[in-house]
């Protein structure tokens, strides 16, 4: 468990800001104690300081995970969010997409969201902004990138993608082996 370098912290927060905007602040300044980001084997964990102290007593090769894994840094030093970060992204999301029940299953198998499956979309979504995907019953299903802005969506072809798939909760079953 080591601290993130300046550069990596920057890329991490830029990435998070795409999805939750200024709410990133809320992740760090929490009323219930100090929380911090730590890195191990290029994976980034979001963890309470109290737990961190205990976790650091363990040798790194025996520590598998601590707190919540947000994602990993790729070899080219970009940050990739994992589905495991969903529980922190969902409450603070800026732009949301709601899926019709018929399109839920499609998305959970890793497909993009087409116009036909789009139930609702939050106003003022910009093109290529990170969006959280929900079912109509407000169940967070995953996240992705808006393929079109809200205005463009209205005139889009029914089969045209509205949201590109990035991660979905189906991965918990599909790829449990390499969640981290």
């Amino acid at each position: 468990m080591k601290r993130l370098s300046e550069e990596r912290t920057k890329t991490l927060f830029e990435k998070l800001a795409k999805y939750i905007g200024p709410n990133v602040k809320l992740l760090i300044e929490r009323p219930d104690g100090i929380y911090c980001f730590r890195e191990q084997k290029d994976r980034v964990y979001y963890i309470s300081e109290k737990i961190l102290k205990l976790a650091e007593t363990l040798p790194p090769n025996q520590l598998i995970s601590a707190g919540t894994c947000f994602g990993k840094f790729t070899k080219s030093n970009k940050f990739r969010l994992h589905i495991t970060a969903l529980s922190y992204l969902a409450p603070y999301a800026q732009c949301k997409v709601w899926l019709k029940p018929s399109a839920e299953q499609q998305f959970l198998y890793g497909n993009h969201v087409s116009k036909a499956g789009l139930g609702r979309i939050s106003e003022n979504t910009e093109k290529y902004q990170g969006v959280l995907v929900y079912s109509m019953s407000d169940l967070p299903l995953g996240f992705g990138v808006a393929a079109r802005s809200t205005a463009e969506c209205k005139h889009a072809d029914p089969l045209a993608p509205v949201c590109f798939h990035q991660a979905d909760i189906g991965e918990y079953i599909r790829s449990e082996e390499d969640l981290l």
């Binding site: 205990l54 520590l63 598998i64 589905i83 909760i169 079953i173």
Partner: protein, 731 residues
């Protein structure tokens, strides 16, 4: 605009077609076989019928001739006796108006009826014939055939009843005198049904053995065969079946085995971190799942009876609203009763069901350590924790036995130990055949080590906790009560109530085992009584952080050392002595039964014995002498006498040769031993002190000491020079 009704000229509605029920149901037709009553009679072929007709005609002709001769006399009688005939006659009357051909055709009919009254055999045939040929006549004969059929039916019923009764009698006789089949017969049995019947029979016999037994065979014969049959019927191996038969009373064995064949109902646990049970139930019902709460004892469990969708792949599941978990898995966590802001360890956590339950009860506060040795199964913990939204966790991959070296001071520890899985045979059928004595031994050794490690991790001074829950999914006492009993002896822990309101009490007596009476507080769960997997739960409270290393134990270890030393010696005498001293040792070193400990100690002993061997080589010749001299004494087998004799001898020898005296001073077998122990001791201080204790305790040794002192005094008297010589050799 409706359809125009068709009225006739008078304004009366006329039905157009036959109406809704155009096809009126005809009268029922019965198969001929049923009508005739006797299903045995074969249908007559066409030719047969024709022949029969001819025969009847012939007979009738003969009868006619006879009749004509005595018509006048018999007419009245006929009328009186057989009203049917008279009826027939009246019937025939119109027939007489027919042509001749018709007459001849009709007459035999009438005759048939007459004859049918005369003999039973024929009337059956005739009856069939009647039915086949025409339906014009039945009115007159209606009553009679029914009556006859009724009679026949009654007869048949009576016969059947008799048969049934006979059979019943036979059965009773069978069960009363159930004979134990020979081995050959047993091998010959082909069907499983036979085996099952035999199992029942044998259990029946065993339930009232004195009454129903076969004098030739003992109870063990019956039990032997029952075991063999159960093994074949349920396809267990011999060893496991024997264990079950020892564990349960006979009737319960069957229930247990039957229950182990059937899967337990699928249960899920609501993740209270993300949703409430009512909401979840509603959402799942909307998806076409049929479910119910698991029972009053749990607020988070749901039983799934049927489902139209795969229960492990609904969006609710993926969103972490529930986890599939056996009902029995809820119990250890409920017993643990984790509080908020505690530090809790789950020592063998994979796949994280119980651990996430703990996290849910803690409401994501405090710290939860989830540990497992298997790095493959760790991934399941990671997946489940993130899916269920557990954020207060640290997931580690450490051997549980080494955990106390890394981290201690937990408020609560859950140890769901790896086990043979004899309680979850339904889940994994391979258990039936794959387990033997060694597997169980391996299991409980590991469980003991894990349990001690878990206790060491626990902080007794914790304000809220200091509790440990030990659970297994096995039903064997070797893996449960025995392990718990071991921990009670080895650590400062006591058993407390689990807080589970149902479940059987743990054993305090089981075969040769006598466990601590507080083992009543543990809980056992069986598939056949509680409809959940076989399970065992024990809850400990640690009352002191000290690891008790009692003097008795240390001595026990040291005594083991002695034993080893002695074993190396060849003389039978010494072995006999071992036999005498062993019981004491066994008492003091109760815990020695773990083979692992013994191994450790053995390794120590090997070191010491090596040193000893070196010295032994030095004093080999001398020893040989001693043995010879001791020969007489050994035969006496009276140690005290021997010692006294030794003393006397020593004195003599001292006078003879000063150099030899000291060696011979330790002449008796006991003394030899002690000497060797001394020589072995320099390696370890503990051993030395242990020996001192022994010396003090055993009066014989004391006497030897006295002897030595006496000798020394004598030696001084002999002279300074000789003393010096002696000292040199001594050192």
């Amino acid at each position: 605009m409706g359809r125009k009704a068709r009225f006739n000229t008078e304004g009366v509605l006329v039905k157009r077609g036959p109406g809704k029920k155009a096809k009126k149901q005809k009268d029922p037709t019965f198969p001929k076989a049923l009508l005739n009553g006797d299903s045995d009679a074969k249908k007559l072929s066409h030719r047969q019928k024709q022949r029969l007709k001819k025969r009847l005609v012939k007979r009738k002709d003969v009868a006619k001739v006879a009749k004509e001769s005595s018509e006048s006399e018999q007419e009245d009688e006929e009328v009186w006796l057989k009203p049917s005939v008279s009826q027939n006659d009246t019937k025939v009357l119109p027939g007489e108006g027919f042509t001749d051909d018709n007459k001849s055709w009709l007459k035999p009919k009438r005759q048939v009826v007459i004859e049918s009254e005369e003999s039973d055999e024929e009337d059956c045939k005739v009856g069939t014939l009647n039915d086949v040929s025409d339906d014009s006549e039945p009115d007159d004969d209606d009553l009679l055939p029914i009556e006859k059929e009724n009679k026949i039916l009654k007869q048949q019923q009576d016969e059947e009843e008799q048969l049934a009764e006979d059979e019943l009698q036979m059965n009773i006789a069978d069960s009363e005198k159930f004979k134990l089949p020979s081995k050959k017969e047993r091998e010959e049995t082909a069907s499983l049904q036979e085996v099952q019947q035999r199992i029942r029979d044998v259990i029946g016999v065993l339930s009232d053995f004195t009454k129903l037994r076969d004098e030739k065979h003992s109870r063990s014969d019956y039990l032997e065969m029952l075991k063999a049959d159960l093994c074949t019927y349920y396809s267990y191996n011999d060893f496991l079946m024997e264990k079950f038969m020892q564990l349960f009373p006979l009737t319960e064995v069957l229930e247990f085995l039957e229950a182990s064949e059937v899967q337990r109902p699928l249960t899920i646990r609501t993740n209270s971190l993300k949703t409430r049970r009512r909401d979840l139930a509603q959402a799942l019902i909307n998806r076409g799942v049929n479910l119910d709460p698991v029972g009053k004892w749990s607020k988070v469990g749901l039983v799934v009876y049927s489902s139209q969708v795969p229960i492990g792949a609904t969006p609710e599941y993926l969103a972490g609203h529930y986890i599939i978990q056996g009902a029995s898995s809820l119990l250890p966590v409920m017993a643990l009763a984790p509080q908020e802001n505690e530090r809790i360890l789950d020592m063998a956590a994979a796949p994280g069901g119980k651990a996430s339950h703990i996290a849910a009860l803690m409401k994501n506060t405090g710290v939860l350590f989830a540990n497992d040795v298997n790095s493959e199964r760790i991934k399941a913990i990671v997946g489940n924790f993130h899916r269920l939204g557990v954020v207060n966790s640290v997931i580690t991959c450490v051997d549980g036995r080494k955990f106390p070296k890394i981290l201690k001071g937990f408020d609560r520890v859950l140890l769901d130990a790896p086990c043979t899985g004899t309680g979850v045979v339904a889940k994994d059928q391979s258990v039936k055949t794959s387990k033997d004595e060694q597997d169980i031994q391996r299991c409980y050794n590991l469980q003991r080590e894990l349990l001690l490690a878990a206790i060491d991790c626990l902080n007794a001074k914790s304000e809220t906790g200091g509790y440990l829950v030990y659970s297994t999914c096995s039903v064997l006492p070797e893996e449960n009560e025995w392990v718990v009993d071991y921990a009670l002896k080895k650590r400062n822990v006591k058993l407390v109530d689990t807080g589970l309101e149902f479940g059987n009490e743990g054993f305090t007596n089981y075969r040769q085992f006598r466990f601590h009476p507080s083992l009543k507080l543990t809980r056992r769960f069986y598939p056949h009584t509680h409809n959940m997997d076989g399970f065992f739960v024990a809850k400990f409270r640690k009352f002191s952080n000290l690891i008790p290393t009692t003097a008795g134990e240390e001595q026990g270890e040291k005594r083991e050392l002695e034993e080893e030393v002695e074993v190396e010696e060849v003389s039978t005498k010494k072995q006999k002595k071992n036999g005498e001293t062993q019981p004491k040792k066994a008492k003091k070193s109760k815990e020695n039964n773990t083979s692992q400990q013994e191994l450790k100690e053995k390794s120590k002993e090997i070191n010491t014995s090596k040193q000893e061997q070196d010295e032994e080589v030095k004093t080999k010749k001398q020893k040989a002498k001693k043995v010879k001299q001791n020969g007489d004494i050994k035969d006496n087998k009276q140690e005290k006498n021997a010692v006294v004799d030794d003393g006397k001898k020593k004195k003599n020898v001292v006078q003879n040769s000063k150099a030899d005296t000291r060696k011979e001073g330790t002449n008796s077998p006991k003394d030899n031993k002690l000497k060797k122990e001394k020589s072995a001791s320099p390696g370890k201080k503990n051993v030395k002190t242990g020996e001192k204790l022994d010396w003090d305790k055993i009066p014989k040794e004391a006497s030897v000491k006295l002897n030595k002192k006496i000798k020394k005094v004598k030696k001084k008297q002999v002279g300074v020079m000789k003393n010096k010589m002696f000292k040199k050799k001594h050192t």
